[in-house]
């Protein structure tokens, strides 16, 4: 098999920018090339969006042709997509109309998390052990810090809630952040040694 077709070439194409950008970051050498390379990242990201959109449309269109369940609703997706994109480029008044009257209420309405939060609290916020009790007490005290009426009843709620956020929570978040940082570096080492090739879809 030709070397061009092998995955090792892709791994080299991965490692080269990594090493170059790290080299530039620590030495400052070849700044213009590094800036251009970072720009390439954004541009390639755009291309991947185009691929993703095409793949999704192909999938939905295939479902429609095969008359799968609920595939007829995809017609709404296609019509709205093309109408919106056409109005963005060709008819700004139409674009503004759709943005104001359709997209804004859709974004407000689709966030039904408000309701599901409350049902989740009613059904799922039950404690089975003393650790769960600590979690709930901490969450209640923290919530009372944010609620103005609680501060009117007793100033201590603000003090306790702030302390919980600024002291124990800060300690734990430091640990988690350190762990994430170390994990990032460890993953980098694995990728540079070729043990990790998830970016190739494998």
């Amino acid at each position: 098999m030709s070397f061009v077709k092998q995955k090792e070439l892709a791994i080299i194409l991965f490692i080269a920018p990594v090493l170059f950008l790290l080299f530039n970051y620590y030495t400052g050498i070849s700044d213009p090339v590094a800036k251009e390379l970072v720009g390439w990242g954004s541009i390639l990201w755009n291309f991947s969006m185009l691929i993703g959109t095409y793949t999704m449309f192909k999938y939905l269109a295939t479902n429609m042709v095969q008359r799968k369940k609920d595939s007829e609703y995809s017609a709404i997706l296609f019509v709205s997509f093309f109408a919106y994109i056409a109005s963005m480029y060709a008819y700004p008044a139409g674009y503004d109309y759709i943005l104001t009257n359709f997209q804004t209420p859709l974004q407000m309405g689709l966030l039904v998390g408000t309701f599901t939060n409350y049902t989740m609290l009613y059904r799922g916020a039950r404690t089975r052990n003393w650790l769960g009790v600590i979690l709930l007490m901490s969450s209640i005290l923290f919530a009372l810090r944010q609620i103005p009426i609680a501060g009117q009843f007793w100033r201590g709620f603000t003090v306790i809630g702030s302390w919980l956020n600024d002291v124990p929570n800060a300690g734990v978040m430091r640990a988690i952040t350190i762990g994430m940082g170390v994990g990032l570096v460890a993953t980098l080492v694995r990728e540079l040694t070729g043990k990790e090739t998830h970016y190739l879809g494998e």
């Binding site: 541009i43 093309f82 709930l136 969450s139 300690g171 640990a175």
Partner: protein, 229 residues
């Protein structure tokens, strides 16, 4: 508020109610709204990407910018994934993208996520409360890190420290969970539904909802039956 008046409140009320109807049961209205939303968002995304490609790639490329011509060629390789013979070339731009992204994420990780996090405040300042807080912070940090070490067998000492770490983590996750308890509300959506003439749509929607709920309750309430086997 003036902006709560006007015909667009009809759209707001209708769309918001159709979106909320999914809470009762999945129905054609909610499916239509989710597909509509997806179509509009995709259009937004694609426009943003296309505009960016035009101004940052195509225009510089037509002006002879070699670097942008190179990235244009690399980006077009992505489309070769649909070709049977040349699909292997689609991995190259992805590899470059992943490499740039990895380098960017990792170079900042060490100073900000590791070095700045291990910066220690004073344990012996004049403020006793501040000293106590610093000790608690580092106790929490250390015990949490110990908790996440799974490659060493936990004896009595490590087990106790891990337990302390668990307590700290519950306190910490409680603050994250507490954000749910601060009380989301739907006032913003309702404000548009109370607007004129949106309120009439809201009234019709409410009537349909109440009728459905009553019908649903009657269906669930099963009368006493005696059957002979």
């Amino acid at each position: 508020m003036e902006f709560l008046q006007g015909f667009f409140t009809v759209y707001f009320a209708a769309i918001i109610l159709m979106c909320w109807s999914v809470l009762i049961k999945s129905n054609p209205f909610s499916k239509a709204m989710s597909n509509l939303s997806l179509g509009l968002m995709l259009a937004w995304w694609l426009k943003g990407c296309v505009d960016s490609l035009i101004k940052d790639v195509f225009i510089p490329a037509t002006q002879g910018n070699l670097a942008r011509i190179a990235v244009l060629v690399l980006g077009l390789f992505m489309f070769l994934r649909f070709s049977k013979g040349l699909a292997f070339t689609a991995k190259w731009p992805l590899a470059v993208l992943a490499g740039v992204g990895t380098a960017i994420a990792t170079k900042g990780a060490i100073p900000s996520m590791i070095l700045s996090q291990i910066r220690v405040g004073s344990f012996v300042s004049s403020n006793i409360l501040e000293n106590a807080n610093q000790i608690i912070i580092w106790l929490g940090c250390f015990s949490t890190l110990i908790y996440f070490i799974f490659s060493i067998r936990r004896g009595r000492v490590l087990g106790s420290i891990s337990r302390v770490g668990q307590v700290f983590m519950m306190l910490s996750f409680g603050t994250v969970f507490g954000s749910l308890l601060t009380g989301d509300n739907v006032m913003a959506s309702l404000a548009f539904m109370f607007g004129d003439p949106g309120r009439y749509v809201a009234l019709v929607g409410t009537a349909i909802f109440i009728a459905y709920v009553v019908y649903d309750f009657r269906k669930r309430t099963v009368p006493v039956q005696k059957t002979a086997a």
